[in-house]
């Protein structure tokens, strides 16, 4: 924290990120008390007062109103007459939520499988490493699109584990599956090195009771020593997950309509380029600022935890 407070750039981006997150969390309040409309509510044939005149929210030829700089349609409307500002905040909630959940899934998979592969070695390592390679071999966006599109129709139904096709957890799950090898591989390599260290030998000699001796060593000895690596990776994953979610949503393989996300908003807005350029610029700008803020904070955190910069996370 001190490092962040000392670094003015990091501080500025930290404040910016906090502001974006706070605004997004307050989306329902804004929608209800200021804009008086929901994120998916159409107003195609409504009118709104601008400069004392009643103006169509969407013109008879389908052109939506631009920013009114008032409570209603502050940033204008989209082609369906939906309030862009309301969708922007709800879209941000969705994007941030998916980014956070995807990061949790990525870390869970990466920590469990990476540590297991590195600690167990042998056949287990061979199988898991090939799995990492297999997923890694596919470009992330391409694999994400393939999974997202395939699951968009039917969702996931594995008995006790069910995800509805419209669920926000679905893109989070897809991103988690696509990204986890990028973290699992460095964690495996780090575990391979740690398992040869004296404190691990000492733990083994202390004789943890079977059958979970290995698990206990991994949890109590290896994992704490991976924590700085994980802490550095986490914000990087969040930034990439938000970006990947936007890409998948833009391509129709992420957040499913009519739910907003910054990616879907950009996709919807391209139809009305260049006449209604704000429909693309506003969510695009929010996306850039959020990802930039998270990346600057991640860099600052990495510098604080790894001053020699021996670890450079690249996803």
């Amino acid at each position: 924290m001190k490092v962040v407070l000392r670094n003015r750039v990091a501080l500025a981006f930290g404040v910016l990120l906090a502001a974006i997150v706070a605004l997004c969390l307050l989306a329902p309040v804004y929608a209800k008390d200021i804009a008086h409309t929901g994120p998916n509510q159409n107003h195609i044939t409504d009118t709104v007062s601008v400069g004392g005149k009643q103006v169509d929210v969407v013109s008879p030829t389908g052109v939506p109103i631009g920013p009114t700089w008032k409570g209603r349609f502050l940033l204008g409307a989209d082609s369906n007459g939906r309030d862009v500002a309301v969708r922007l905040l709800y879209g941000g909630r969705n994007s941030l939520e998916i980014g956070a959940i995807a990061t949790a899934i990525t870390l869970l998979l990466a920590i469990v499988l990476g540590t297991l592969a590195g600690y167990a070695r042998g056949v287990t390592d061979g199988v898991l490493s090939r799995l990492f390679d297999l997923v890694w071999a596919y470009p992330a966006v391409l694999l994400g699109v393939a999974l997202g599109v395939a699951l968009a129709v039917g969702g996931i139904n594995l008995g006790i584990f069910t995800l509805h096709s419209g669920s926000l957890l679905l893109p989070a799950f897809v991103i988690g599956v696509v990204v986890f090898p990028y973290v699992a591989k460095p964690l495996r390599a780090h575990t391979l090195s740690l398992r040869e260290r004296e404190f691990v030998d000492a733990a083994r000699m202390m004789g943890y009771p079977p059958p979970f001796a290995g698990v206990r060593i991994m949890v109590s000895e290896i994992l704490p020593n991976l924590s700085s690596t994980i802490v550095v990776f986490a914000p990087l994953i969040i930034a990439n997950a938000i970006l990947l979610e936007a890409a998948l949503s833009y391509l129709g393989a992420g957040v499913q309509a009519p739910n907003p996300s910054w990616g879907t908003m950009i996709a919807d807005g391209t139809r009305l380029m260049p006449g209604a350029i704000h429909l693309v610029v506003v969510p695009g700008l929010m996306l850039v600022l959020t990802v930039l803020s998270v990346n600057v904070l991640a860099d600052t955190l990495r510098d604080a935890l790894d001053p020699k910069a021996s670890l450079r996370g690249r996803l």
Partner: protein
């Protein structure tokens, strides 16, 4: 009845802007001087093999490259719905029982490769089309005697077709009288191909045919060329123009780019199946005067309401959405290129009712009373909170239609979500009964000017496990008996049964089997190189490329 198929590609402001910049780009030029015209298509034809293609995009190319025994007059408006002799010398002689059609082939016809046309080629063409699985093959297998047996592999020939190469005589026997059979014969799928043409998809190298053009230089999903057929002259088939210039067809999936290219005269013809983006429409209207017009089409848009799946198996649910819909909103989403309407048979199709819509006027605002009634009906049916999945495709404005409709369903009490499927897979997905599609968007346009074409979408026989053509799964005894009774009446005698078609269509609207919301208007939009007035906008096949000529 064929359904129109319209065919996206990390993310940051930079990418978003890049997308916009990409959209502003232009493709190859065709401006100035003589030479081919460049036609832009938003969606690639399903196939350029006449035995397979069954979409508007396919027909647009194949109807001037594969002429059948009959074809349509190359004219705008109602005149274009008139059948004229194609490869046949004249219109058919029909037996008194309406089951036997006799034609005689014109003499001296040759294919685009110079090979003479034989009467037996017709029988071969029908067999090939059935074997390839053309999208409307039921029109052949269910009507021509022996068609079904051939399709099922029980016979090696279609017994109902007899040909004589010496005299050019072709006799077709039907299982039962089918009035629009003459229209079936005018499908490009029955445009003759030489006997021995491989029975496999030749979409990348289409077979020779008889017509003003031949299809060459096919680059799948990218481009193809219609080259003037050197073996076709103005005397070959009276009434079929020879064509003026070669036609370069390019697939451009971005409407914005498409419109900008035509507006900027770097391409010549805008795809009439596409919508000019709203933000460009005013510019087009002001800068392209004399080369842009709205053309009425015999086609429309509706949301199907699956009568076999909850909640729309409940008539109250269907009535509720019909009461609540605001068709003017959908008109705006279509950039104003939609004429609001409630009847299944579109304006311009014989049988379109002249009466009032049963659930409120389509051109006026949904009244508060109607909206309240919709909510009340949902409540009364015990369907408040019932989950509904709305299916749609990605192409604009179809996705926007679905966004509006989903919002509407939520407002009246359902719990609606969307499933948006890639355009190319959309109809196959909703047409697979295992997906149990409850409701979703469908576009419909005429294959031939007879109301029975549209009513195939409500015919119980069209309910199929895959490639289902009746998405609402309507199986109504009244509709079935009327269809059986009206089917034998010839297209030329439609006037005698118009009132029955009107009554049937009013009945269908009353039953709310689907939520029809309007009839399409199409943009006829050319570059300033093309003679706008001379170009025919055909009521069945859209822009008639054989009438395109440079100024």
């Amino acid at each position: 009845m064929h359904r129109t198929l319209h065919a996206l590609t990390g993310m940051s402001l930079a990418l978003a802007l890049a997308t916009g910049v990409g959209a502003c780009g232009s493709s190859s030029t065709s401006s100035g001087g003589s030479g081919p015209v460049t036609v832009l298509m938003g969606t690639a034809p399903e196939s350029l093999d006449p035995g397979l293609g069954a979409t508007t995009q396919s027909y647009e190319a194949t109807w001037i490259t594969y002429t059948g025994l009959l074809t349509y007059a190359h004219a705008t408006g109602e005149a274009g719905t008139k059948l004229i002799p194609g490869l046949a010398e004249g219109l058919p002689t029909v037996s008194k029982d309406g089951k036997t059609y006799t034609f005689t082939l014109r003499k001296g016809l040759v294919y685009s490769n110079g090979v003479p046309v034989k009467a037996s080629d017709f029988a071969y063409t029908v067999k090939r089309t059935i074997k390839l699985g053309w999208g409307n093959k039921e029109l052949l297998t269910e009507n021509i005697a022996g068609g079904e047996a051939f399709d099922k592999g029980k016979a090696s020939t279609v017994s109902g077709i007899q040909t004589n190469n010496a005299t050019g005589k072709i006799t077709i026997k039907l299982v039962a009288p089918y009035g629009p059979f003459v229209n079936v014969l005018a499908f490009p799928a029955l445009g003759l191909v030489p006997t021995g043409t491989p029975i496999k998809s030749l979409t990348n190298s289409p077979p020779p045919g008889v017509g003003p053009y031949e299809i060459t230089s096919v680059v799948p999903n990218k481009s193809f060329v219609l080259t003037r057929n050197p073996h076709f002259s103005s005397s070959t088939i009276p009434g079929v123009p020879t064509g003026h210039v070669n036609v370069d067809v390019k697939i451009v999936s971005n409407n914005q780019s498409e419109a900008e290219q035509v507006l900027g005269n770097t391409a010549d013809v805008f795809d009439y199946n596409d919508t000019i983006p709203p933000t460009l429409l005013a510019q087009v209207e002001s800068q392209a005067k004399g080369r842009y017009a709205k053309e009425p089409t015999v086609s429309g848009e509706y949301f199907f309401l699956n009568t076999k799946e909850a909640p729309f198996n409940n008539p109250l649910a269907r009535e509720a959405v019909t009461y609540a819909i605001d068709r003017r909103a959908l008109q705006r989403l279509a950039s104003g290129m939609l004429d609001p309407g409630c009847f299944f048979l579109p304006v311009g199709m014989p049988g379109h009712p002249s009466g009032k819509c049963p659930y409120g006027e389509p051109n006026s605002e949904t009244s508060a009373a109607n909206f309240a009634k919709a909510k009340e009906l949902i409540q009364q049916a015990g369907l408040k909170g019932a989950p509904v999945t709305v299916w749609g495709e990605t192409r604009s404005p179809h996705k926007e239609f679905v966004d509006y409709y989903t919002s509407l369903l939520n407002e009246i009490g359902f719990k609606a979500t969307e499933k948006i499927v890639a355009d190319a897979q959309y109809y196959a997905t909703i047409g697979n009964l295992s997906n149990k599609a409850q409701t979703g968007w469908v576009s419909f346009s005429q294959d031939f000017p007879n109301p029975i074409d549209f009513y195939q979408l409500l015919n119980a026989h069209s309910i199929l496990p895959t490639e289902n053509h009746n998405p609402s799964q309507v199986n109504d005894p009244h509709i079935q008996s009327e269809l059986e009774s009206l089917a034998p009446v010839s297209s030329s005698q439609l006037d005698t049964i118009l009132s029955r078609w009107q009554a049937l269509d009013e009945y269908t609207a009353q039953k709310a089997y689907m939520l029809v919301f309007g009839y399409d208007e199409a943009p006829k939009f050319f570059s300033n190189r093309v003679d706008f007035g001379a170009a025919v906008f055909h009521p069945v096949y859209g822009n008639d490329w054989s009438t395109l000529q440079l100024k």
